[in-house]
Structure formats: C-alpha cells, structure tokens
C-alpha cells in the first residue's frame, strides 16, 4: 500500500480551538486548558484512505496576531489548510474570510481548503448561522463542517474529506512500494452529532 505524506496547516483566530481539533484527531483527547500555541506545533497521524495510507503532517499554527506574519512558512507547500472559526464568535468568522483571501493570493495554487466551525456543542451561544458559513464555503468550493473538538464531532470527517479531495496519486508510482504490509487497520471511528 502506498504511503503519501500530506502537509496540512491549521489557520484561524486565537482561541477558536485549532490545537484542540488536532489533539482530538491525533490523540483522541481533549484538554479544556490548553495553553495558547507559540509559533506552531507539529504532529503527524497516518490514516488509511481507500488503498493508500495518508500520513498527515499537521502544522497547528498560533492564532495570536504577533505570529500572523509567520503563516506563509506553514501554508507553503501544504496540500490542505483547515481554517477554523468559533461559531459563537462572529469576529472569528470575519478573520476566516481574511485567511481565505490570503491563501487565494499567496497560498499554493491547488491547496484544498476546509472550513471548520468549531464549538458546535455551544449552539446556545451561536453567533454564526450554519447556513451563512455553508454558503460562503460553497462559494469558494471549500469543504465545510461544524465540529466540536470537545465532543469529538466531525473531527475525523474533516480529514476524510481532505483525503477525498487530494488528487489521486500517479497510478504507476502508487503501487511501487513492494512488500509493505499494514500491521493494523487504521483507526476510523465514526461519531454522530448528539
């Protein structure tokens, strides 16, 4: 089975839950008191997608304004970007639009964009209607999901959707790795919204 490494970066306002999403995806855990990320954290996770292994090289960037200028180093060469906003903070949705603009102007030409409206467990405090976000995502052909890192909602799905949109690898190259056997099936647990 062929192994592909996919660089993925997470972008978005500070406090929207980028690190929590990654933490849920990689370790299936949640810590409500994560410290703000400095610079970026790097993590990897390999999942099976059809007859390929996708190893996500995840760059979880800092949302704080003072690190804003560093973002190009992380989205440079990325196969996908997950832009995260907080459904309870209208402002974070506006920041997201700026990220989309920046990626369109300076990002890699074929980058897959996924929009994640995080904290969907807090729908009582919702400020961003799901439909608005969905319409916006459709208008830019981006993946859209509402997620909850806390309750593990739609986290794996974001990455599955990314895998689906990654262009198929060259068939000739894809089968060239000989004798490579999978020890275990990649974990893929489905969770549904409550």
């Amino acid at each position: 089975m062929a192994l592909r490494e996919l660089k993925v970066c997470l972008l978005g306002d500070t406090g929207v839950g980028k690190s929590s999403i990654v933490c849920r995806f990689v370790e299936d855990s949640f810590d409500p008191n994560l410290n703000p990320t400095i610079g970026a954290s790097f993590m990897t996770k390999t999942v099976q997608y059809q007859n390929e292994l996708h190893k996500f090289l995840i760059w979880d960037t800092a949302g704080q304004e003072r690190f804003r200028a560093l973002a190009p180093m992380y989205y440079r060469g990325s196969a996908a970007a997950i832009i995260v906003y907080d459904i309870t903070k209208e402002e974070s949705f506006q920041t997201l639009k700026n990220w989309v603009k920046e990626l369109r102007q300076h990002g890699p030409p074929n980058i897959v964009v996924a929009i994640a409206g995080n904290k969907c467990d807090l729908s009582d405090a919702r400020e961003v209607p799901e439909k608005d976000a969905k319409d916006f995502a459709d208008s830019i052909h981006a993946i859209f999901v509402e997620t909850s890192a806390k309750h593990a909602i739609n986290i794996n799905e974001v990455f599955v959707e990314i895998s689906k949109r990654i262009p198929v690898a060259d068939a000739a190259v894809g089968t060239s790795v000989k004798g490579f056997k999978l020890g275990r099936q990649a974990s893929e647990s489905r969770r549904t919204c409550c």
Partner: protein
C-alpha cells in the same frame, strides 16, 4: 497507525512530564539562540537571547559578541556563515544526562567545557540606518558539533528572522522544544517552521565511514521531508583544495595535536578548514583545544600568544593579518589566499621556511619546519587532480578524501587498539569474592615491538617512519585522550562483568557463617557499586542491578532490627 505518529516522537507525555517551562527538550539541542547587532555606541552587542531565562556569564556574552562578527566587515557584503567555539565560564554546570555521550561516537560527543557558535551574519546597505549598513548575526549556541545540521537550519531560519524578528525566534525555539531528544542510531524528524528536517545521528556501534540516512519510501511524498545526508561532515574537498598536495602533513599535524594557525581570507574559510582538519583524524577524537574562528578580542588571546612558554596544543582559525605578528613563535602557520586557478587546477600553496614569515603581507603558504613521518600518497593526489580536470562533483571528491583519511587513521589506530585489547585481564580472573582485576599498564616499548608483525603496513601502502610517528603521538594530548577513553571503557567492562558474576554467586550462602560486621561491609560495598553503575549508565545484562537490589534488601531484612533501621536510613 504509524508508531511514530503523534506529537513529535516519541510521545508527548514524556515532554509534558519534564516541565515544559525548563526548555528541557530545547536544551538537549541548543544552549540558546543569540542575536548580535552593531550598536553605534556600544559596538557589537547582544540584542536578544532566547530562551530569555538562559544563563550566560558576562564573559561568555562578550565573547559571543566579538566572535559573531567577521573581524573586518568590509569583505563580507551579503550573507556569511561560519562557526566558532568558545570556552565556557568556570563553574558552569555540565550537561546532566550523559546517555547521549555514552551512545554517540566520540567525535560527536557533547562538549563539556566549550560551546559552539553557529553564525549567520548579514551585512547589507541600508540608508535608513545611521551607519549606512544593516549588520546583524543570528547565532545558534550549542554543545553539539553538528555543523552541517545547524548551518542548514540557519539557512532556513536566518533570512526569515531578519524580516520577522522576535516572534519568529520565539516560534523557532518553541518548535525546537518539541523535537525528540538527540538519540544516536535513530532517524529523527525535526520540524522547523513549516519544513521537516530528517537526520540520523550516527551511533558508536556504526561502522565508521559513512552514516547514510536510510532512504524511506520516497515515492510520491507531497512535501518530502528534507533529508540531511550528514549532521556534521564538511565538504572536505572544498576545504582542502588549496593544500591537497600537503594533505599528509596536515593529517599528521592534526594527529599529533601540534600548535597550528590557519589564516584565511574569511571566517567561513578559516572555520571550515579548522573543522575539516579536526575531522581528518576521525574516528579518533581530537582532544586539544581548537577555535575555528579566533579573534584578538578572545579571552584566551593573551594565554595563547604569550611568548614566555611554548605555544599550546591548539588549532586556531583567524582572518586578521595582525596575527602573523602575534603568532611569530608558532611552529606551523597555514596562510590560505583566494583560490587561484593554474589552468584547471586550484593553485597549491607551497611549504615555506618560518623565517619567511613577514608581517601583514605574507604570501600564501605553509610556514613550518615540519617534515612528515610518512610519504605522501601520490596516487591519491593524482586521482583528485584528475577528478578536478574531469569535473568530478565536489561531493565525490570529498568522499574519496574522507575514505583515504579514514583508512589512514584506522591503519594507524588498529595496532593500538589491538595492543590495548591485549591488556584486558582474562574473564575468568573476574571472581565475585575479589575486587575486579585491573587493566594492565600500557607499555610503549612493548607496543612498538608488536609493530613488526602487526603494524600499519598490514593495512596501509604508505611508507615512512611509522615508529617515529607513534613515538611522537604518545606525547600528544590525542593519545592521552584516546588512552583514557579506552581505559575507562575497559574498566567499566570489568566492573559490569564483576557485577554479573556477583549476581550469579551464592551470596546468601556466603553470609550464613559470617559476622554482622562482614555482612554490613558487603552491603555497603554492593550499594556503592550499584550507585556507581547507575551513575555511569553501566551496560550490564538485564535484571542484574534489580537482582542485586533485591538481594541487598533481603540480607538487610535478615539482620537485627536496630541494624536494619541504621542501614535503611542511609
């Protein structure tokens, strides 16, 4: 799932456990990162140190300031990279964990009394600055001799830093703090601002002569990690291209730890040449002091240029022509000039008499009265020169050079290793009831008498006075360092064997008819041995230490209660 997946490898819990605030992972790679700038009033000054709580003494700071800028800036417009090495202030704590040093090849061990400084200096015209120039250095300070890794890193981070400033440095340091610790023998992925550097740290048990990074499944990786083929190796051919025909002499000077000055037009050339010389005797460790880049501001300047005593066993790289005067009493000075081509070939410097050393306008050459013990390898030189004509790539030329130097050093060292091994006591002389036997003393004459049958002529074609070379080597710090290292390893081996035989012995049976005093004595001695074994990370068979621990507690348990409480209180 990939077992290496997760937050860096191996595992984030370990990182969380050893207090993130202490920068413990960062400091296993780097001591700190410094930004040195030119201040109109202060001259060179440290603008920023990261992590902020890192402790550098004033003396260390001053040295870093001076060593981070080229001696004369005029010749260095644009970006310049070079390496320096400075002495740590007295009283600084050594690095606590020596597991790395135990498993790494001796030539890659962590420095205990020095720091390396890896410098990226930028000088560009800038009318907005009073001085008319932007002049700044980004310096990685580390105990690790990973020249290639750190300079590759600087190429990635320094240009970005000069634009993005402090937050960028903060990000870089935090990312380094997520790196796995440097573990010999393992392939490591080091994430750094959006790219991943993949390296393999050689291990002591590797076969010397190359540390190829294992090629991973390279097919269709979208952003492939940047594979660094080496951590520390330099482009030997580039470093030695002006002195190729004198390679034999330079190897001997390095082997013997002779006082040597390399004077070059730039800090890049002098520091790379010094480091190349040091590495030329690998796998032997160069045990003398060396300063790839040395300036007159250096704290050791007076110490090293005093005329009241013989020059010290030091290799210095310098750029300031003033040093010709300061080092007039030194026995070997290599003056490198700009590369001049004579037809296809870089023009080789000549050996000249020391009396020809003139102040300031001294011509390129090797100023020495030294006569090599061994003849030069003309076939090698021909091969390299032919390689230049045929435009063989520099890496291939370097590989030829490296192989030659390795074989030469090994031919020299194998007879010593063989003799040293013969000094090891027989295993059957290790018994549980006696202190372990000692390694027999090294006798130079006895060793030299073995050369007739098992000398370097078995593995090397080079002719010459090998005997004379060994005699001179015995008086050098490099022999001393090698001997101490081997002796320590053998003593520790004996200690491990001793612990293992004790473990297999019937200790409880022995205690049956012994007095309390003798039993207590046994317990104390055993405890001491265990403490030492753990401190030295002694390699013993699995379970030996635990079994002895259990044994000690069971004997203690068999003693009267008052004695038990005394023994347990200790």
């Amino acid at each position: 799932m990939d077992p290496l997946d997760g937050f860096g490898s191996p595992g984030r819990e370990a990182a969380a456990a050893d207090s993130r605030s202490a920068w413990s992972r960062f400091s296993s790679w780097l001591e700190c990162v410094c930004v040195v700038t030119f201040d109109l009033e202060l001259g060179q000054a440290i603008e920023l140190v990261y992590p902020q709580d890192v402790k550098l003494t004033e003396k260390e700071k001053t040295s870093i300031c001076y060593l981070s800028f080229p001696d004369s800036y005029s010749g260095c417009l644009g970006d310049t990279q070079f390496t320096f090495r400075l002495r740590q202030s007295v009283g600084r704590q050594g690095f606590k964990d020596d597991v790395y040093n135990r498993d790494a090849p001796v030539t890659l061990q962590r420095e205990t009394a020095h720091f390396f400084g890896y410098v990226y200096f930028r000088q560009v015209k800038d009318v907005s600055i009073k001085r008319g120039y932007f002049q700044k250095s980004l310096v990685l300070v580390s105990r690790l001799p990973f020249t290639h890794l750190f300079h590759s890193m600087l190429q990635i981070i320094a240009p970005e830093f000069f634009e993005k400033l402090e937050p960028f440095l903060e990000a870089v340091c935090n990312e380094i703090d997520q790196w796995p610790p440097p573990s010999p023998g393992q392939t490591l992925n080091l994430p750094i601002v959006g790219t991943v550097l993949q390296i393999r740290i050689p291990s002591k048990s590797d076969k010397p002569g190359g540390s190829p990074v294992r090629q991973m499944t390279k097919e269709n990786l979208l952003p492939a990690p940047t594979l660094l083929p080496t951590l520390h190796e330099l482009d030997l051919f580039r470093c030695f291209q002006l002195v190729l025909i004198h390679l034999q002499m330079l190897w001997e000077l390095a082997l013997l730890g002779e006082p040597l000055v390399i004077m070059a037009p730039s800090p890049t050339v002098c520091s790379e040449t010094v480091l190349a010389l040091i590495s030329a005797i690998s796998p032997l460790k160069f045990c003398c002091d060396f300063r790839p880049y040395f300036t007159i501001h250096d704290c050791e300047f007076r110490e090293y240029t005093t005329r009241t005593q013989a020059p010290p066993n030091v290799v210095l790289g310098v750029t300031n022509p003033f040093f010709i005067k300061a080092f007039q009493n030194w026995p070997h000075i290599v003056r490198l000039g700009e590369i001049k081509m004579a037809g296809d070939l870089p023009k080789q410097v000549k050996v000249k008499k020391l009396s020809k050393l003139k102040t300031l306008d001294t011509k390129p050459g090797i100023y020495t009265a030294y006569k090599p013990f061994l003849h030069k390898d003309k076939i090698l030189i021909k091969r390299l020169l032919k390689g230049i004509q045929r435009k063989r790539p520099s890496e291939a030329q370097s590989a030829i050079l490296r192989r030659h130097l390795l074989e030469l050093t090994q031919s020299f060292i194998i007879p010593l290793e063989r003799y040293m091994a013969s000094l090891m006591p027989l295993q059957r002389s290790v018994t549980p009831w006696k202190t372990p036997p000692q390694v027999r003393p090294f006798s130079q004459e006895e060793f030299l008498s073995t050369l007739d049958h098992t000398g370097p002529q078995l593995t090397s074609m080079l002719r010459g006075d090998w005997m004379g070379l060994y005699r001179k080597f015995f008086r050098s710090p490099n022999f001393d360092g090698w001997y101490r290292q081997r002796h320590r390893e053998m003593t520790q081996k004996l200690e491990s064997l001793h612990l293992e035989t004790i473990c297999d012995a019937d200790l409880l049976g022995w205690t049956k008819d012994k007095s309390e005093v003798e039993i207590v004595d046994l317990i104390l001695k055993l405890r001491e041995k265990l403490v030492r074994a753990r401190r030295q990370h002694l390699q013993v068979k699995d379970g030996v230490l635990d079994k002895l621990d259990a044994f000690i507690s069971s004997i203690v348990g068999s003693l009267p209660e008052d004695l038990q409480s005394v023994l347990n209180a200790r």
